[in-house]
């Protein structure tokens, strides 16, 4: 069985899901908000790379793409927070309200992108609604220098971005005062504020980081996929939510592990099922969601809102 390519796909998808899933958990932990605009960060990250590619005459460096995507993704996220989530948070609303407000934002961002794509297609000629793979010049140089040209470029891009961000996040959250303050704000805003932490600014920073890191998964995506469309965020975010929920919307390490497991299920497990058992790939989503459902029911995540009272009660007595 041709397993090599399947493993490569699983690897790239693991990084993509980690880079977009961890920020989702982080944003929920800090703000208790289901951000429906999350797929937009991924899409905008990818499209920033695409637009930069066209503007620079189809020659783009990974570093440029990463910086631009990080800034744009972070800004979009920050604007979302400042314009919508923060005013709502001052009014103590239910989390569903945040969710629907972010849904409204998602419509706006998504269709502004469609409008921009139509205008840009007219200007540059390429079909922005289905854009081919982007090769990063500097990664190519690295490949030539290290003579690893036969490893697909996307593996190197994903590894570089993924490992860098993971190390950066680890150092940030565990070794710096800022990171500890961020974690404190995420766990208990009131206590953090009382301890003198400028919670408003830290929440802004959290949103900026969330958007920026998520956008980097888009940068990997354009290097990997033969065609990028504005729907790319939606397709990826489904697995992000799955991973975040398995992680209990609280634990970053479990979210990361869940992301890797989901990437493996979607790619390797399904390829194996197809080859040895003749299962058609059309049930991929059913299997992913079925497994998520099974995990959630079998081991409800304790933490944010686990089903505690009913686990130990066998029978509710009637009066």
């Amino acid at each position: 069985m041709e397993i090599y390519r399947v493993i490569l796909c699983s690897y790239v998808f693991s990084w993509i899901y980690i880079l977009s899933g961890l920020p989702l958990t982080l944003s929920y932990r800090t703000t208790k908000v289901f951000n429906f605009a999350h797929p937009v960060f991924i899409t905008y990250g990818a499209y920033v790379a695409i637009i930069a590619n066209e503007v620079l005459g189809k020659r783009i460096n990974l570093v440029t793409a990463v910086l631009l995507a990080f800034v744009v993704g972070g800004l979009v996220s920050l604007i979302t927070h400042l314009l919508v989530f923060r005013p709502l948070s001052y009014q103590r609303v239910s989390s569903n309200t945040y969710m629907v407000a972010s849904m409204g934002l998602w419509f706006i961002y998504q269709y502004i992108l469609y409008i921009a794509c139509q205008i840009l297609t007219r200007k540059y000629g390429a079909n922005f609604l289905s854009y081919p793979t982007i090769e990063y010049e500097d990664v190519k140089l690295v490949q030539d220098a290290l003579r690893i040209g036969n490893i697909p470029q996307y593996i190197i891009t994903a590894s570089l971005i993924g490992v860098t961000i993971s190390i950066a996040l680890y150092i940030l959250f565990n070794k710096t005062v800022l990171g500890i303050a961020l974690r404190g704000t995420a766990d208990n805003v009131t206590l953090a504020a009382v301890s003198g932490i400028p919670t408003d600014r830290l929440i802004n920073l959290t949103w900026f980081l969330v958007g920026g890191i998520t956008a980097l998964s888009g940068v990997i995506w354009v290097n990997f996929s033969g065609s990028t469309t504005p729907d790319v965020g939606l397709n990826i975010v489904v697995d992000n939510f799955a991973a975040a929920f398995i992680g209990g919307l609280y634990s970053l390490p479990i979210t990361a592990v869940a992301s890797i497991v989901l990437a493996l299920i979607e790619n390797t497990l399904l390829a194996v099922l197809n080859y040895y058992f003749g299962v058609q790939p059309t049930i991929r989503l059913a299997i992913v969601f079925g497994i998520v459902f099974a995990i959630l029911v079998a081991r409800p995540p304790a933490g944010a809102a686990g089903g505690l009272p009913y686990r130990f009660i066998k029978r509710v007595s009637k009066k």
């Binding site: 409204g104 419509f107 205008i119 058609q280 059309t282 049930i283 989503l285 059913a286 009913y310 009066k319």
Partner: protein
Amino acid sequence: MIDVIGFLINWLIYFAIYSMLAITLNLESGIGGITNFGKVAFFGLGAYIGALMNTYMLLAISGVDVSKAPPYTAEGVIALTRISISNPALVLGIFILSILVSFTVTGIFGYLLTYPIIRVGAGFVGFTLLSIGEVLRAIYINTEFVGGTYGMLGIPQPFMWINNTLLSNICYLLLSISILALIYIISHRILYSPLGRTLRSIRDDDIVALCLGKDVPKIKSKIFFLTSGLSGVAGTLYASYVSSVNPQMFVMLVTFNVWAMIIIGGSESPVGAVVGALILTLVERLLSLTASFYEYLPFTSDYLRPVIIGLIMTIVLVKYPRGLFPMKPPKITKSIVKDLEGKIS
């Protein structure tokens, strides 16, 4: 010139169906506290049950060999059209039967799902139900019997045999509005009853309710049976109206559109649900009408429609986070006071 009557009829039927979904969602989530992100699962299940019954049963009873002319092929569709125009009693009978069956089956499906709902706990109910919705959709795609990716076609509208299109649409509209009214009354009665108060207490703090002796799992399952069944009925109405079903029609976005309706309208009362459904369905159609205003833009003007809807949603929510019609506290009438006085003394 705009055909106002036609526009109103088409819009109102959609409005009725989405209001049914919104009211039931409001009952289970806004009042009952079960955050249902998988509404479309029940909607889709009801639609498919309605589709299956109204096509296969109709063909089978009329003596058409279903294995040679299944309802997702041209021969089946032609046979269906012929039968539905010439046999009103049969079509109506099967339609009513399909509504009842859809209510029961979808209701039981919802009832069975209460076990996982209670097990996973309040925060994860939404996503658990969402996964069920996607699993069901994948089942539809992979089952040839229900049409697979092709979906099913030719589902008869129960009033198709009336020669006048306007009249048959008006009949269907009246049917939908009556079912909507029924659902509204049920929801209203539950809301202002002891059951409603219990539900709200469970929503606010189910542990306290449990400690006070309320059988929380049983109440949740009863309510979920009712709301799922009614969502299934809405699905059957939808399938007969659009006269085709396809797995693409039952994606997650439908659930979240209904959520938008109840949050914008006000998530604590059926009035809010209806108002939310009214605003969102109407605004979308009105904006399509205005698409040709903006002919000279350098892009397709219809792209602005979701942008404007998104702006309306966001701005309304930032100004009125509890929705446009949040529930007022229930009136303390004299009879309730007397009742309470009797209990205290």
